[in-house]
């Protein structure tokens, strides 16, 4: 199962390493980890997405809570939260198939950021699934490189 954790932490040196170290040490998976500042300058926010069985996901929550620098852990339910991710992807294309690639972008909400004779850079944002779908759609064109931001999530309430 998937576990999405929205974690508020003290904005202090070494906190990210404490958290990532915890996951490494206990063999917990990190699918994505995003860190950023919040409206309070001494508080940072992390969104951590992990997969594992129920016991593992429960343990992750408990171990996060044990860290003195962790202020609050919220486990987000996919159906009761909004998750977003952004991607920059560079896809190979030629004059012959550029039109069909533009069509995919139009249909799936990809924004064309840069075009060269042999490639196109596209920005996509949406749910992690949207991003996955987009990658599948353009795979046959030849993906030159891509970068994803990782998921950020907030509970609806």
């Amino acid at each position: 199962m998937k576990g999405i954790f929205s974690v508020l932490v003290e904005n202090r040196d070494g906190v990210l390493s404490q958290i990532s170290g915890l996951f490494a040490r206990r063999g917990f998976n990190i699918d994505s980890l995003v860190v950023g500042t919040t409206e309070q300058k001494d508080v940072s926010s992390m969104t951590i997405v992990s997969t594992g069985d129920q016991r593992t996901i429960d343990q992750i929550e408990k171990h996060l809570n044990k860290k003195p620098d962790v202020i609050k852990v919220r486990r987000l339910d996919e159906s009761k939260s909004i998750s977003l991710e952004m991607m920059l992807i560079k896809v190979g294309c030629t004059q012959a198939n550029r039109g069909s690639l533009i069509e995919i972008c139009t249909v799936m909400g990809g924004k064309i950021m840069h075009v060269t004779p042999r490639a196109m850079m596209i920005e996509v944002h949406g749910t992690p699934e949207t991003i996955e779908d987009f990658i599948e759609m353009v795979r046959s064109y030849g993906i030159i490189e891509l970068q994803r931001t990782g998921t950020i999530s907030l509970g609806r309430t």
């Binding site: 003290e10 040196d13 070494g14 040490r25 408990k62 044990k66 962790v70 202020i71 609050k72």
Partner: protein, 539 residues
């Protein structure tokens, strides 16, 4: 007042009277300030021993204790002691000197990233960046070490910060408030009533007491609970001492190296109440079998322990003393006499199948006889190896304490932990029991014992081997012994003489009673070597 003086002042205000340590340039300002304070410093011979000594002291005083080292290798030498304390949840504050702030990160002489290196072995750590933060940091460090699930906290303090004058007047905080650390769990009333209900319904309840009971000082409450409701109790190695061995409700230590009847009790029970125990592999080798046959109540101060190893349980998070004080106010039906009777029957019908060599000293007999001759409230410190398992299995607990490195299994623990314990409880008899391997791992600490005239007794079970590994190689690798022979060195009489210690040696069961008497009554520190036949195995 400079940073070093502030740090020393904070320790005084925390009630610290003795610290164990080893100086170096990076911690020199602290040592200078400490020399002008009320704090006694015990110079160890290697930094690891400072950590173990503070560990022994903390366990006996039931308070947070302090060890101090310099930067780089001084600090890295401490890592094993921190890991040992972390595994057994022992409250320590470790202070390490660090190179000057502006040099941190440049790989200068004796610089080590000790915070990074100890990340997984401490409850929390600090690198002091501002001299004015010292009082707050020390207060927090002691608070974190001593509350919730206890453990070691590290304060890494650069040399220049120690020398820097404080920018404001020294004020030690009365209390600390940490938004991310709330150790005092309010006991969940709903869970509590479920626990009460489960105990009421149980026909064959059994308590498994771990080290957390002793750390939380819950022994009196558990004892009252056990006696009032006639609920039998087994313990883990860290829980030895929760009940005296002679107690009618005590059914021994469980696990691989425990009493077979304790394990039978676990299997036959219908409700296992685990209190302050980690369900580690040596205590419960197959948790998946256990969770199928027995329903489990898991009581721990650390919610992350619940569900870590064992599947669905009835969890109750909180302080053991508080929980059992609450349970003692409840009425439970008296446990069925047949249940206790069946356990007694198993206990009395268990025949020890192990073969014991008739040669030299029988280690099982040795531990029994030693512990019976020791004072009622004596402190027994077992090292790691066969000596630890023979000790745990045969120690006749009365009203004393049994200390050992249960979680980490750190060889060389017993000698420094014993003198730490003795310094914490000068009126109590303290005996360290080790093998010839573990003795030599901390042999250098005899210097600390001699200089400080700490009258501890050290008993060495000498068989010329790293016995537990030898035993493993015998069983698993068809007696292909590899790297386990210690031969006849050192000459223990000469070692004892070199450190002005009493020396006793025993090579037969017949001579044992007299030699033990002389050893225990020797005025001052003493070593007793008991020759053990290497063919004696633990299992």
């Amino acid at each position: 007042m400079n940073g070093a003086e502030a740090l020393v002042k904070c320790l005084e205000l925390e009630g610290i009277s003795t610290v164990f340590g080893y100086p170096g340039v990076a911690i020199a300002p602290f040592y200078d300030a400490m020399a002008r304070s009320s704090i006694r410093h015990i110079l160890v011979r290697q930094e690891q021993a400072a950590g173990h000594a503070a560990n022994g002291y903390a366990r006996i005083s039931r308070q947070t204790q302090v060890c101090v080292t310099s930067s780089g290798p001084g600090a890295t030498n401490l890592i094993t002691a921190l890991a040992t304390a972390y595994a057994d949840s022992i409250p320590l504050v470790a202070i390490t000197g660090q190179v000057d702030s502006h040099l941190v990160g440049r790989d200068v002489f004796q610089e080590a990233d000790i915070r990074g290196a100890t990340e997984s072995f401490v409850k929390y750590s600090y690198l002091v960046k501002n001299v004015d933060e010292i009082p707050h940091i020390v207060k927090e460090a002691f608070y974190i070490a001593s509350t919730g699930r206890k453990g070691p906290v590290l304060i890494d303090i650069p040399h220049d910060i120690q020398l820097k004058e404080m920018g404001k007047a020294f004020a030690y905080p009365e209390s600390v408030e940490m938004r991310g650390y709330k150790p005092n769990h309010k006991i969940n009333a709903q869970q509590m009533s479920k626990v009460i209900e489960a105990i009421r319904k149980a026909k064959k309840p059994l308590i498994c007491a771990g080290g957390g009971v002793i750390l939380g000082h819950g022994e009196p409450e558990i004892r009252e609970f056990v006696e009032k409701n006639r609920i039998p109790l087994v313990s883990t190695i860290m829980g030895i001492g929760v009940l005296p061995k002679s107690h009618p409700m005590y059914f021994g230590m469980l696990g691989n190296n425990g009493k077979p009847y304790a394990n039978r009790a676990v299997m036959n029970s219908d409700l296992l109440i685990i209190v302050g125990a980690r369900i580690a592999d040596r205590a419960v080798p197959k948790p998946e079998t256990l969770e199928k046959t027995v329903s489990v109540i898991h009581i721990d101060i650390d919610s992350a322990e619940i569900g870590k190893v064992l599947g669905p349980t009835l969890p109750l998070v909180g302080d053991v003393k508080e929980i059992f004080a609450m349970l003692n106010k409840e009425e439970f039906p008296q446990t069925d006499d047949n249940w206790i009777g069946s356990l007694e029957q198993i206990k009395h019908s268990t025949v020890d199948q192990r073969h014991w060599s008739e040669n030299l000293v029988n280690p099982m007999l040795l531990v029994q006889m030693l512990s019976e001759k020791m004072d009622k409230d004596a402190i027994y410190v077992a090292d790691v190896g066969q000596n630890q398992l023979w000790s745990a299995d045969n120690y006749v607990m009365q009203e004393g304490r049994f200390l050992t490195s249960g979680g980490m299994g750190t060889m060389g623990y017993s000698i420094p932990a014993a003198f730490g314990a003795k310094i914490g409880a000068p009126d109590k008899q303290v005996v360290a029991v080790c093998g010839d391997g573990s003795f030599q791992m901390s042999m250098y600490e005899l210097g600390t014992i001699a200089v400080n005239k700490v009258p501890v007794k050290i008993l060495v079970m000498k068989n010329g081997y790293l016995g537990l590994v030898r035993e493993h190689q015998e069983k698993v690798f068809e007696s292909r012994y590899s790297g386990v022979a210690l031969y006849d060195y050192p000459y223990y009489d000469k070692i004892a003489e070199a450190y002005d210690m009493g020396y006793f040696r025993c090579s037969s069961n017949e001579a044992l009673p007299d030699e033990l008497e002389k050893f225990l009554h020797y005025d001052g520190a003493a070593i007793m070597v008991c020759d053990i036949d290497a063919s004696n195995n633990v299992i």
